[in-house]
């Protein structure tokens, strides 16, 4: 008898499942946003991208009137998150929050998607990067480093975050312009790259101003040069790369950037509402102060300006990659120019 009851329950369950299949309702939304929004971050919690997105979202939530629930989906230099958001509906309820890496995906074979498959909602800002060496390093200028590398190709060691990461991209720039090549030792994060240089396990790395500034102030590292067109206010004494290698001008400004995107095809009203909310949040003094603290150059771009920025960035990077041999298809072949 008791077995019979349990069998009946199983049957009930199965029937319920079958009924449940047809029960997916679609909410018809008139005003966007009618429910909470999900923000998918390409990188891990506590990282640079995450630390910029969470505060901005808390501020934007108040303007939108609905929560923005943040989830981290790190992996594959952001490709996992990108793929995930792409697979959701283009209704504006799933936001892709990430850094600059997706622009490189198709070039490097990481994924078929890039930010062209998305609409930019808001581009927060970008950062400057520079070359750093340990405090006991024999190099005192970028030129010295390059000369040594040209004399001994592939022996000077640099730490990177793997193919497609920021240091790797910069090494392509360097090769394209100066022809210098290095021994690249891959690490997991910008922080780990820095630690390796501090510990004397590598000659140099490329670091964001933000990541390296504390160590610099403490005298643990030397900043050889900055990849910037103008002086960086927190590091006025560090020479700019264009002073020693003016050819870099062609590729600057360049740096990791951070933005929020939605899938292509999302309605213009939804994008507008989101953009405006983020613009307001962005303007908040507490957020501006946060950006300053992170040494992020505020951009606050939306719409066409944002698209132009993205295209420019992609073009510069593809150009350098092609010249340095990092990729074998030219930008024209990739359809970028």
């Amino acid at each position: 008898m008791k077995r019979l009851i349990s069998l009946l329950l199983v049957l009930c369950m199965t029937v319920t499942v079958l009924i449940g299949c047809d029960n997916k309702e679609n909410n018809s939304e008139s005003i966007f946003p009618a429910r909470d929004i999900t923000g998918i971050v390409q990188w891990g919690a506590g990282g640079g991208t995450d630390s910029l997105m969470r505060p901005l979202s808390s501020l934007a939530e108040k303007i939108l009137g609905k929560s923005i629930v943040i989830q981290n989906k790190p992996g594959a230099t952001g490709a996992i998150a990108t793929q995930y958001v792409y697979e959701q509906d283009a209704d504006g309820y799933t936001l892709l929050m990430g850094a600059e890496n997706p622009q490189l995906y198709s070039m490097l074979g990481i994924s078929e998607l890039t930010y062209e498959d998305f609409e930019p909602v808001f581009i927060i800002g970008d950062e400057k990067v520079g070359i750093i060496v340990g405090k006991d390093s024999k190099y005192n200028s970028f030129t010295e480093l390059i000369e040594d590398a040209l004399a001994n190709p592939g022996t000077i060691s640099m730490t990177t975050t793997g193919t497609g990461g920021m240091p790797w991209s910069v090494s392509s720039f360097i090769k394209a312009i100066t022809g210098a090549t290095f021994k690249q030792i891959p690490f997991d994060s910008d922080a780990a790259c820095l630690t390796a240089v501090l510990g004397g396990h590598a000659d140099f790395t490329v670091a964001k101003v933000q990541s390296a500034i504390q160590s610099y102030k403490a005298g643990e590292i030397k900043f050889l040069t900055l990849l910037s067109l103008e002086e960086v206010d927190v590091l006025p004494e560090v020479p700019l790369v264009i002073e020693e290698y003016p050819e870099f001008k062609e590729y600057l400004p360049w740096g990791p950037f951070y933005g929020i995107f939605v899938k292509d095809g999302t309605s213009l009203e939804a994008i507008d509402v989101l953009s405006n909310a983020f613009i307001e949040a962005f303007k908040d003094e507490s957020y501006q102060e946060l950006l300053r603290g992170f040494n992020v150059t505020p951009l606050g771009l939306t719409g066409e300006e944002a698209k132009a920025y993205l295209l420019d960035w992609k073009r510069n990077t593809a150009d350098a990659f092609y010249k340095s041999g990092a990729i074998d298809k030219s930008p024209e072949e990739l359809g970028i120019k």
Binding site: G46, R54, I70, G75, A79, Q83, D188, G199
Partner: protein, 503 residues
């Protein structure tokens, strides 16, 4: 205020003490539930505390951190499902103890040892931070490799029927760890075009499935076996037993601090290493390891809590996180406008002392909350299996989902559960597989880094001999292996025999 005075800040603001207590309490229960990790809890707190003042936010996170690392031991002991990867080693001997009815004692020991380890970690942080940092920086990729190799040696100890089986499952585990996109070259490995697999197989999911669900399935066969009545008397370990294990505690904690201080290695690795070391160095445990040796709980629990203090060292002195929880806390600190790093002691010394004192406080609360309520917990596993097992399965589902809010994780967890079940039925050890998955990344990336850095495998091996640190680690490995051989055992028994005759 003078920096040192900040040590007493919590006592001037009772709110902070309360927050530490809440954090520890919450942390214990988060840690005890498999699938909920400290990293997740702390990262949930970040936006939550965005509007708060800095001090309360930090203090709460620290409480949770301490609680979670300890809490994982609860479910490891009671259910053989480690609540956190740091507790994997605890389950090896903790669970057998529970099966014998000594769960109360096991939890009591775990609690006390965690507190000891935590305090040693705090001391290291407070007084030895610069020294430990220097040592941590010296670790080159090949040293990480040697360290992870030491962790893998645990395979030899965990093997059941034969070392071969342990090796096979371990190799399979590491292979599973390679699934996904290779971080170095961005190539897809073993993904077969599946996007989900691109991010790899999450070890928490695997762990819950391989340990938890499989155990639940296996036990269904034994429903008729009465749940073991738990002896609820000897919960707080006696003073003499604490003294007996003190050398082991201290040793494990020191290892815990150093490993915790290594960026990229945290409490979980520390626990595995110390468990293995304990197994090889404790001469005659009352009970063999793997069947309920108390030392098998002492070592990992003190190590993983000591690793907390250790993890803060690089975070505060260099701004580089020692493990994933400190990585999130780092982000939180940045958001609050603080700059952990070499300038921390100069610009904001109060932060350092605040962290030290709240860590110390959290250990006190750990002791209090840990020792109370044990009776309730042990009664839990006296629930008849027919009811307990479904609950365990449901918890596993929730836990694996909670990792990434992805239902696929649940399916994989179930798959691992089946794999684990089959393995157990056919005498293939499950432990090494989990070990392999956890250590896969460290082993591979450091191997490749070392070879790239040295230029070739030969040069890499040569490099080991040129670095004192590497030689030190290598000699530990060789020694540990030797201790297992017959040759050494014969030498020892001869020596002991001689001594015996002399007395």
């Amino acid at each position: 205020m003078n920096g040192l005075a900040y040590l007493f800040l919590p006592f001037q603001q009772p709110l902070l003490i309360v927050l530490v207590a809440i954090g520890v309490f919450a942390g214990i229960y988060i840690g005890a539930i498999p699938g909920l990790s400290g990293t997740m809890a702390v990262s949930l707190l970040v936006p939550f505390t965005f509007g708060w003042e800095t001090n309360p936010a930090i203090v709460l996170m620290i409480g949770i951190f301490s609680g979670v690392v300890y809490g994982g031991s609860r479910s490891a002991i009671l259910l053989n499902i480690p609540g956190a990867p740091a507790a994997v080693a605890t389950s090896f001997d903790g669970y057998p103890l529970a099966k014998k009815g000594l769960a109360g004692e096991a939890i009591g020991i775990a609690t006390v040892q965690s507190v000891f380890g935590g305090i040693i970690g705090v001391i290291a942080l407070a007084f030895f931070a610069p020294v430990v940092t220097k040592v941590a920086l010296k670790f080159a990729p090949r040293d990480y490799l040697l360290l992870s190799f030491m962790g893998m040696m645990l395979v030899g100890s965990l093997g059941s029927k034969s070392i071969s089986r342990g090796l096979v499952t371990a190799a399979m585990g590491v292979l599973l760890g390679t699934v996904g996109m290779d971080p170095i070259s961005a190539q897809h490995r073993f993904t077969f075009g599946n996007t989900y697999l691109l991010s790899g197989i999450d070890y928490v999911t695997a762990m819950i499935g391989l340990f938890g669900v499989s155990e639940a399935l296996v036990q269904i066969k034994d429903l008729s076996i009465e749940p073991v009545k738990q002896k609820a008397d000897r919960i707080v370990p006696s003073f003499s037993s604490i003294k007996k294990y003190l050398p082991l505690t201290i040793r494990s904690s020191i290892v815990g601090v150093i490993v915790g201080a290594l960026p990229g290695a945290g409490g979980d690795i520390a626990a595995l290493l110390t468990y293995d070391q304990a197994k090889r160095t404790v001469k005659n445990p009352e009970v063999p390891f793997g069947e309920g040796a108390v030392e098998g709980v002492v070592a990992p629990e003190s190590a993983n809590n000591a690793a907390i203090g250790g993890a803060f060292i690089p975070m505060l002195t260099m701004g580089i996180p020692g493990d994933s929880v400190t990585a999130v806390m780092l982000g939180a600190l940045f958001i609050h406008g603080l700059h952990p790093g070499p300038m921390l002691m100069v610009e904001t010394p109060h932060l350092f002392y605040l962290i030290v004192s709240s860590l110390a406080l959290s250990n006190i609360f750990l002791l209090i909350f840990g020792l109370t309520g044990i009776k309730v917990f042990t009664k839990l596993i006296e629930i008849p299996k027919g009811r307990l097992l479904p609950i365990i399965i449901m918890l596993s589902v929730v836990g694996s989902y909670a990792v990434n809010n992805n239902l696929y994780d649940v399916f994989w967890m179930v798959a691992f559960g089946i794999i684990g079940y089959l393995f157990k039925q056919y005498d293939y050890p499950v432990g090494p597989m989990v070990l392999g998955i956890i250590l896969a990344d460290i082993i591979e990336t450091n191997y490749r880094r070392s070879v790239i850095s040295a230029g070739s495998i030969l040069k890499f091996i040569g490099g080991i001999f040129t670095s004192p640190l590497s030689m030190f680690l290598l000699s530990i490995i060789i020694f540990s292996l030797l201790v297992q051989t017959e040759w050494y055992k014969r030498w020892r028994s001869k020596r002991d025999l001689k001594r015996y005759k002399q007395d």
